[in-house]
Amino acid sequence: MLDTELGGQIRSAVRDLCGTFPDTYWREVDESRGYPEKFVQALTDAGWLAALIPEEYGGSGLGIAEASIILEEVNRSGGNSGACHAQMYIMGTLLRHGSEKQKREYLPRIASGELRLQSFGVTEPTTGTDTTKLKTTAVRKGDHYVVNGQKVWISRVQHSDLLLLLARTTPLNEVKKKSDGLSVFLVDLREASESELTVRPIRNMMNHETNELFFDNLKVPAENLIGEEGRGFRYILDGMNAERILIAAECVGDGYWFVDRASSYAKERVVFDRPIGQNQGIQFPIARAYVNIEAANLMRFRAAELFDTGKPCGAEANMAKLLAADASWEAANVAVQTYGGFGFAAEFDIERKFRETKLYQVAPISTNLILSFIGEHVLGMPRSF
C-alpha cells in the first residue's frame, strides 16, 4: 500500500496541483483568516475530494489509503487540508446508511462540488468527549423534526452547504443503552433561517474556522433523517476511524514538510563558517523526528489497509493518529528550533504550520482518550475513568 502504482500516480498528480498554490497563497489565506476557496475549488474540480464516493454516484470510488494520500500531499505541500478534509469522512455516513434516494440526491452534487458537506455537528459545550450525553434534541412534529440545543467546535459551517447533525430523538431515561436514541440528520444550512440557527465563530490560534451553533426550533424535514431513528450513534462511529486515518495522513504530510524545510535550511544556513546541519545538536533531532514520522506513516497505511479490506481497525486508526500527531508536533518543534528566530517570522511559514499541526494533539480525539482505548480495549485493563 505504501508504494502501489495507483498511490504513486495520485501522489504525483495531487503534488502537481498543490504546486500551483505556493506558500504565499496559504500565508495570505492565513493572514486574512480566509477560506482557501480557490484551492478547495481546484481540488474539487480535479475530483480529489470525491475520492471516496463510488463511481456510480459520480466519485472515483477509491479507498481510504488513496484518499489519505491526497490529504497528506496537501499538507506536505505546505497547505492545510483542514479546510476540506471533513467532506471525505462525513460523506461515509451518508453513503453507508443513507437511503438510495438520499444518496442519489446528494452524492453526485457533493462529488461535483455543487454542494459542500463539510460540517459535522456532534460535540456540545457540556458533554465534551462523552457523546452519548449530548443534550441537543430533535423532536418529530409531523413531517419535520424540531431541533433545539447547542453545539461547539463545529468547523467550516460558514463554508459548507450541508451539516451532518447528531441529536437525541429519544430521551436518555427512556433508552436501554445510553448510546441508543440518537439520530443523524442532514441539515441544509442554506435553508436554515437566522432565527432558527445562530452561528457564532470562535477565534483561535490557527486559521481554522470553527463555531458555536445555537438551534432554536430549527425545522429539519423528516426525509433528512439518515437511516433509522435512534441508531445514529452507531452510524457516526463508522466514520471516526476514517477520520483518524485521514488526520494521521495529514500529520504525516505536515511532518515531512517540517523535516524537508528543516533539513534544507540546515544544509544552507551557515553559522561559524559551516552549515548548521553539521552540528549534531541540530542534525540528530531532525533525524529522530523523521524516524518517528516514518513509523507513524507505516501505522497509517496499516490502518488504511485494514479499513479498506473491511477489517476492524479501531486500534490501528487510533494509534496512527496518536503517533502521527506526536511526530508532526515533534517535527514542528525541531523545525522552529532549526530556523531559530526565522521560525517565528510569518514569511518562513514555519510558524503557521506550527500552529496548524498543534491542533491534532487535541482534536478530534485527545491522546489520553486513545491511551484509554488501548489500555481498556486492546490490553484488557479496567476502565480508568
Binding site: G281, Q337, F344, R355, S384, F385
Partner: protein
C-alpha cells in the same frame, strides 16, 4: 507557589511588587488586547512606566534611575508576566541597554541618555541581529566608518525589539571590518529626525504579538563620533559578552513566572470543568501531570532564586546562567504545552490566556542565545 517566598525578597521589594502589580492591572491590562491588534504597545506606555518608576530600576539615582538592584528588575519583570503581558520589552530597555550605558558609557553619555530613558522620554533598543547573522556576530555586515568626526552607518538589522518606538538605538557595527570580532563597536543612534534611517513595518510573528519588533535600515546615516559607546573602538564584542549572564536571568525570571501562571490557570480550570461526570482534576492522569508541572515549576523557581542571589552578590558564572536560561525556557514550553492539553479544544481559543502563553513561550528557547548555544557554554565547563 504555596508558602514559599523568594529568599531575596524584603519589605521594600514587597511594596514595589504590590505597586507594580496594581500599575500593570490599571494601565496595561485594559489596553493589552488593542496592543496585540496593533502589533505593538502604545508609545505612551513607556512614559507611564517612567512616571511609575519602573524604568531603569537598577540604575543609580544620580542618573535618574531608581537606585535598585537586579532584585528590583526581577520583581518588575515577574509581575509583568503574572499580569499576562508580553511585548512590553523593558528588559532590553532597562535591563540591558541602560546597563551598557552605565557600565561602558562615558560620564557624559550616562548623563545624556540615562535620565531620559528613566522617564520614558527615550525608548531604547539594541540592534544586533542581521538577516545573515544571528548567533555568529563575526558575520555582521553593518558598517560604521569614521569620517570627519562622524560615523557613517550602512546596513540593515532585523528582529529588533522596541524597533518601532526606539528613540535611542545601540547599533552593533563593524568599525574595522578587517579585524573580525575585534573590529566590532557599539554605536549609539538617536533616531529623531535622522536622515537615512528608516524602520520596517512590525514583523508578523508566531507570538508576542504586542511586542514591537521591526527591521531597521541605515542608509548613509551620520552620527557624531562621540556616540561610540565608551571611549575605545573595537570593544563591542567584549562589551556584548560581558553582560550576558545577567541578561539571561531576565529570560529565566520570566520563564518561571509564566510557568506559575500557566499552572494556576490550569488548576483553576480542571477544578471547574467536568467530563464523564467527574471534575477533570479527579482523573489520575490530570493529577499526575499537574503534579509533575508543579514540581518542576517549584524547582525552577528555587533554582532561579538561587541564581538571582548570585547576581546580587556578583558570583553568577556563565555556565550557571546558561543552565538557568535553557532549562527554565525548556520547562516553560513543556509546562505550558502540558497545561494547554488539559484545556482540550478551549486551549486553542484566543479568549483563553493559555493560548497566548503557548504562542508567546516558544521564542524563549531561541532568543537571548539559543538553548543550543547555552548547552555549548555549559559543555565548556565539563
Amino acid at each position: 507557589m504555596d508558602h514559599y517566598r523568594s529568599p531575596w525578597m524584603n519589605d521594600e521589594l514587597r511594596l514595589l511588587q504590590e505597586a507594580v502589580r496594581q500599575f500593570y492591572a490599571e494601565e496595561f491590562v485594559p489596553h493589552y488586547e488593542r496592543w496585540i491588534e496593533q502589533g505593538m504597545v502604545d508609545r505612551e506606555a513607556w512614559n507611564k512606566a517612567g512616571e511609575m518608576g519602573i524604568l531603569c530600576a537598577s540604575i543609580p539615582e544620580e542618573y535618574g534611575g531608581a537606585g535598585g538592584t537586579f532584585a528590583h528588575e526581577a520583581v518588575i519583570a515577574r509581575e509583568l508576566s503574572r499580569a499576562g503581558i508580553t511585548g512590553f520589552s523593558n528588559g532590553v530597555h532597562s535591563g540591558i541597554l541602560a546597563h551598557y550605558i552605565l557600565v561602558y558609557g562615558t560620564e557624559e553619555q550616562r548623563r545624556k541618555w540615562l535620565p531620559k530613558m528613566a522617564t520614558g522620554e527615550m525608548v531604547g533598543a539594541i540592534a544586533m541581529t542581521e538577516p545573515g547573522a544571528g548567533t555568529d556576530l563575526g558575520g555582521i555586515s553593518m558598517t560604521a566608518r569614521l569620517e570627519n568626526g562622524n560615523y557613517r552607518l550602512n546596513g540593515s538589522k532585523t528582529f529588533i525589539t522596541n524597533g518601532h518606538h526606539a528613540d535611542l538605538i545601540c547599533v552593533v557595527a563593524k568599525t574595522d571590518p578587517a579585524l573580525g570580532h575585534k573590529g566590532i563597536s557599539l554605536i549609539m543612534v538617536e533616531t529623531g529626525n535622522l536622515d537615512g534611517f528608516s524602520r520596517g513595518l512590525p514583523l508578523k510573528k508566531l507570538g508576542m504579538k504586542a511586542a514591537d519588533t521591526t527591521e531597521l535600515f541605515f542608509d548613509d546615516v551620520l552620527v557624531p563620533a562621540s556616540n561610540l559607546l565608551g571611549d575605545k573602538k573595537g570593544e563591542g564584542f567584549a562589551q556584548l559578552l560581558q553582560q550576558l549572564p545577567r541578561e539571561r536571568m531576565y529570560i529565566a525570571v520570566t520563564a518561571v513566572a509564566v510557568m506559575e501562571r500557566a499552572l494556576e490557570l490550569t488548576v483553576e480550570y480542571v477544578k471547574e470543568r467536568k467530563a464523564f461526570g467527574k471534575h477533570l482534576i479527579d482523573f489520575q492522569n490530570t493529577r499526575f501531570k499537574l503534579a509533575e508541572c508543579k514540581t518542576e515549576a517549584k524547582i525552577a523557581r528555587i533554582f532561579v532564586d538561587h541564581c538571582i542571589e548570585r547576581v546580587l552578590d556578583g558570583t553568577l558564572d556563565t555556565a550557571t546562567a546558561a543552565m538557568a536560561k535553557w532549562w527554565t525556557t525548556q520547562k516553560q514550553c513543556e509546562i505550558v504545552d502540558e497545561c494547554m492539553q488539559h484545556f482540550g479544544g478551549y486551549g486553542f481559543m484566543l479568549e483563553y490566556p493559555i493560548a497566548h502563553m503557548y504562542a508567546d513561550s516558544r521564542v524563549q528557547k531561541i532568543y537571548g542565545g539559543s538553548n543550543e548555544i547555552m548547552k555549548e557554554l555549559i559543555a565548556r565547563s565539563l
